[in-house]
């Protein structure tokens, strides 16, 4: 039987079957369509403007490793004119971050990008190891997630960048759509498919891999021989998210387009106006200046809980409200430095990067 030719170039032997489309294609065409689809996502959403300073959230995992590579490639190929940086967060988990930070440091040299590593210890005075020692394995995800989100913004502010890009892929977004429907988180459901999020007081954050399948990201890393570290929760996997993830994988096996179909669904609906009106409005934390839906932001509440030895109580909504209501924080309480948007994050009038006509 003659070798099957690539369904795209019809010239070279096909060596892979694209998980996203089922087409049998050659390696070069795979690189090209993968990168071009990211470029389409970037230009369609008008994510960047020439001269933007962009931080790539780099964990050393597959998504961020491939993201750094693709951002560098596209920036050169299409002359985006971006200043790219790498931004890593060290949560302080002994023995686990070290290797992946090495990958990030190698990326810094390979791609010639400045790197900033910001640790929880530096920012909050607590490492994840210390947090787990106090609260145990239950609920530690709440602390890590909240602290990481703020840490990225604060790291970006230190780097004085306009924009953070993260490696969230199509599988992550589809999973989040399902999760938010199943747990009734209408506010997050409304915004989880947005490619870019920016509040008045936060740095613009976007997901160029929004439509990229996780399998294709691994495939890209494999063929490009990029090395990365696989990520696995060691402390406390979120059981509910685990269910959703397993379900999504089953759906993908049954019909690979399910991932993109869920994202399409998420983009094709919105929250009704009357429901929107009942949503809490955003404000800034009175203690650290970060965006918040309450008087105190989540990170300040959690940090106060840790400092006062009542971290268990603040991991729940009820506990947080109680702490919010109790305004008698000790005088010598360690707090998070006040957050200020970098000067460059102010709107500028430069035209966004669009697809060449």
């Amino acid at each position: 039987m003659p070798p099957r030719l690539c369904a795209l170039c019809h010239a070279v032997r096909a060596i892979l079957k694209r998980p996203k489309t089922g087409q049998q294609i050659c390696k070069e065409c795979f690189f090209y369509v993968f990168e071009t689809e990211i470029h389409n996502t970037v230009t369609e959403a008008k994510l960047f403007k020439p001269g933007d300073r962009v931080a790539i959230g780099a964990s050393g995992g597959k998504d961020s490793t491939v993201l750094a590579h693709v951002m560098k490639t596209l920036n050169e190929r299409y002359s985006y004119g971006l200043d790219l940086f790498l931004l890593s967060i060290d949560e302080g988990i002994t023995g686990y971050r070290d290797d992946s930070l090495e990958t990030v440091k190698r990326n810094q040299q390979q791609y010639d990008m400045p790197l900033k590593i910001l640790s929880y210890d530096e920012l909050y005075g607590w490492t994840m190891d210390a947090i787990v020692t106090q609260i145990g394995k239950k609920n530690n995800c709440t602390f890590c997630g909240v602290f990481r989100r703020q840490a990225l913004d604060r790291g970006a502010a230190i780097l004085n960048v306009d924009h953070i890009v993260t490696g969230h892929n199509a599988d992550d977004i589809a999973e989040t759509v399902l999760m938010n429907i199943m747990r009734g988180d209408i506010a997050r459901l409304g915004r989880c498919t947005s490619i870019c999020t920016q509040g008045e007081d936060t740095i613009k954050r976007s997901k160029p891999f929004k439509y990229a399948y996780e399998k294709e990201i691994v495939m890209y890393a494999y063929f490009k021989k990029l090395d990365y570290f696989s990520t696995e929760c060691i402390y406390s996997p979120d059981a509910y998210r685990g269910h959703a993830r397993a379900f999504l994988k089953d759906l993908e096996v049954s019909r690979p387009s399910a991932i993109i179909d869920i994202i399409h669904s998420g983009e094709a609906f919105e929250i009704k106006e009357d429901v929107k009106a009942t949503q809490k409005s955003q404000q800034t934390c009175r203690r650290c200046g970060y965006m918040s839906s309450n008087e105190l932001c989540k990170a300040c509440t959690l940090l106060e809980g840790l400092e006062r030895g009542m971290a268990h109580a603040v991991a729940t909504d009820r506990g947080r409200k109680k702490l919010d209501a109790d305004d008698h924080a000790p005088e010598n309480l360690r707090t998070i430095p006040f957050f200020q948007l970098p000067a460059s994050s102010r709107p500028n009038s430069t035209a966004p990067i669009e697809a060449a006509s």
């Binding site: 071009t36 995992g61 997630g145 570290f229 696989s230 049954s254 690979p256 399910a258 179909d261």
Partner: protein, 524 residues
């Protein structure tokens, strides 16, 4: 050291979680010992019936008058008769029982207490109630025909008329003509072998409806597509039957649990734009392809006559599967049952996987189904509507094909600016521009287009593997009729959460990466 044997060691047994909140007594009458727990609340058998009837009426009655949620102080006055979609399953059996008790036998136990004996609310609401059953056994090999059982079941309820259809009626021009459908002038079909969904002429005109149905189903790319196609065919058959029988309302026995499953399954199949229709729907028949009767909106026959529409309501949407089972058990309803749509070698589709997932999740998180339904009720479609899908009849979103093309490149794009070297080394072969051929794609919504084109990673067996598959297969009669009308009128060819996790780092070797993507790599 602990052996973990509960008999030897009582602490080894996990403490059983109480299924109810506070007491074993009924939360309604506060007197009798409870017989059923409905999401942590305990009800006795005697309070369960009025509670369920109340939920049923609350979901249906605000939708009975032409103006939904309008004043209903005097009476419920539907614009037409009632059609009950009956599948033989638990939900539709309970629905039929409730309809009969509330609107035919006027069972006193189902009547609201207030308003007195002669209150207009106690009059018959529906002049005629028809039960419509669509037999789908011919779609799958070895599936028993339940028509007789259904006939026997419906005959328990006097004054209810039964209309039976067969799934292949969707491909039967005689049925279509009988219900006032406009005949398609040409024998047109579609090629499902190609993603382009080219429209073509049928090789065999006037194909037997059963053969046409089986050829259509066998050409679908996945088990999900087969299930989804049958659900669509049944839904549209019921809608046309409702229109034909003068029904203003079509009610379905979708329970809260089934609704949650269909919402998640719909989202997983890309039908986010139609999430509202999954709960309730106002169907406007296509006047171009079927005869749509008119009616007087007011009793006095004043004003302008209006074209009929069919309102689809799911009155069991607040009643879970467990409550339906309790109603059926305590009311001694002999549920006919539904066959699972399976065939040899078939893997579970998205609908089946979603059902298993939701039912499993409900065990640990009992409020899940209710949360899903309440969350989806807070959503509305986003974006512009571009007509109606000619296959399912639901609103189609504008620009879905552009969206699909943008996020997944399926044909060779021009070389990138910096790829000149590669282009020079391997010039793309000259491919002749294919001649223009009409496609079904522009007439489809996202979900139907995905149903017809999205394939599995591995080939899947079809329900009828021995059937000769023609290159062009028949389309449902309403779709073929719409295509004919379009061709005629055009006079030419048609056209993030924050809960991220603490991570363990492990370097990925090339072999390990390869194992993840191995199933997508072609052999050397």
């Amino acid at each position: 050291m602990s052996c973990g044997n509960p008999q030897a060691e009582p602490d080894a047994l996990m403490q059983r979680k109480k299924k109810y909140d506070k007491t074993r007594n009924c939360v309604r009458c506060k007197d009798a010992i409870g017989n059923i727990v409905i999401r942590h609340a305990v009800y006795c058998k005697y309070c369960f019936f009025p509670l369920t009837t109340h939920k049923f009426r609350r979901a249906l009655e605000p939708n009975v008058n032409a103006k939904p949620d309008g004043p209903r102080k005097t009476a419920l006055k539907p614009a037409g008769t009632l059609l009950v979609g009956f599948s033989g399953g638990l939900g539709s059996s309970v629905l039929l029982d409730l309809v009969y008790k509330c609107y035919v036998s006027l069972d006193k136990s189902t009547m609201p207490a207030e308003g007195g004996r002669d209150h207009p609310r106690h009059e018959r609401v529906w002049k005629k109630i028809t039960v419509c059953y669509v037999e789908v056994c011919d779609a799958f090999p070895g599936t028993p025909d339940r028509t007789e059982d259904v006939t026997k079941f419906v005959s328990r309820y006097d004054e209810l008329q039964l209309a039976t259809l067969r799934i292949q009626d969707a491909f039967d021009p005689a049925w279509w003509e009988k219900i006032g459908g406009r005949m398609s002038f040409a024998d047109i079909g579609v090629s499902l072998a190609d993603e382009a969904l080219f429209i073509g002429s049928l090789t065999q005109s006037h194909l037997d409806p059963l053969a046409a149905l089986r050829a259509y189903l066998s050409s679908l790319p996945t088990p999900t597509a087969v299930h989804s196609a049958i659900q669509t065919l049944v839904r549209v058959l019921l809608l046309h039957s409702a229109l034909h029988t003068g029904a203003s309302h079509l009610i379905l026995g979708t329970s809260l649990t089934s609704l949650a499953i269909s919402l998640i399954s719909g989202v997983a199949q890309g039908s986010g734009f139609n999430i509202r229709e999954e709960t309730s729907e106002e169907w406007y028949p296509d006047t171009g392809v079927t005869n749509v009767p008119e009616y007087w909106p007011d009793e006095g026959r004043k004003g302008k006559r209006l074209k009929r529409t069919v309102r689809v309501v799911r009155p069991l949407r607040d009643i879970g599967m467990k409550e339906c089972a309790a109603w059926a058990w305590w009311s001694h309803i002999p549920v006919v049952g539904k066959e699972t749509w399976l065939w040899p070698g078939a893997k579970p589709g998205i609908g089946t996987l979603t059902k298993e997932f939701i039912l499993g999740l409900e065990q640990d998180y009992p409020s899940t189904v209710s949360t899903i339904v309440r969350t989806c009720a807070k959503l509305q479609p986003k974006g512009e509507v571009e007509g109606k899908c000619i296959l399912c009849g639901r609103p189609a979103q504008r620009g879905v094909q552009n969206w699909k093309a943008q996020i997944a490149i399926r044909s060779q794009p021009p070389p990138p600016p910096a790829a000149d070297a590669r282009a020079a080394l391997s010039p793309a072969p000259v491919v002749a521009e294919p001649p223009f051929q009409a496609s079904l794609t522009p007439y489809l919504c996202y979900t139907c287009h995905t149903t017809l084109t999205s394939r599995s990673a591995r080939p899947v067996p079809t329900p009828w593997p021995d059937l000769a598959r023609p290159s062009v297969v028949s389309l449902p009669v309403w779709t073929a009729a719409r295509l004919s009308v379009s061709a005629e009128s055009e006079g030419a060819e048609m056209v993030e959460p924050t809960d991220e996790e603490v991570v363990r780092q492990r370097k990925m070797g090339q072999d390990e990466m390869k194992s993840i993507v191995n199933e997508f790599l072609l052999e050397d």
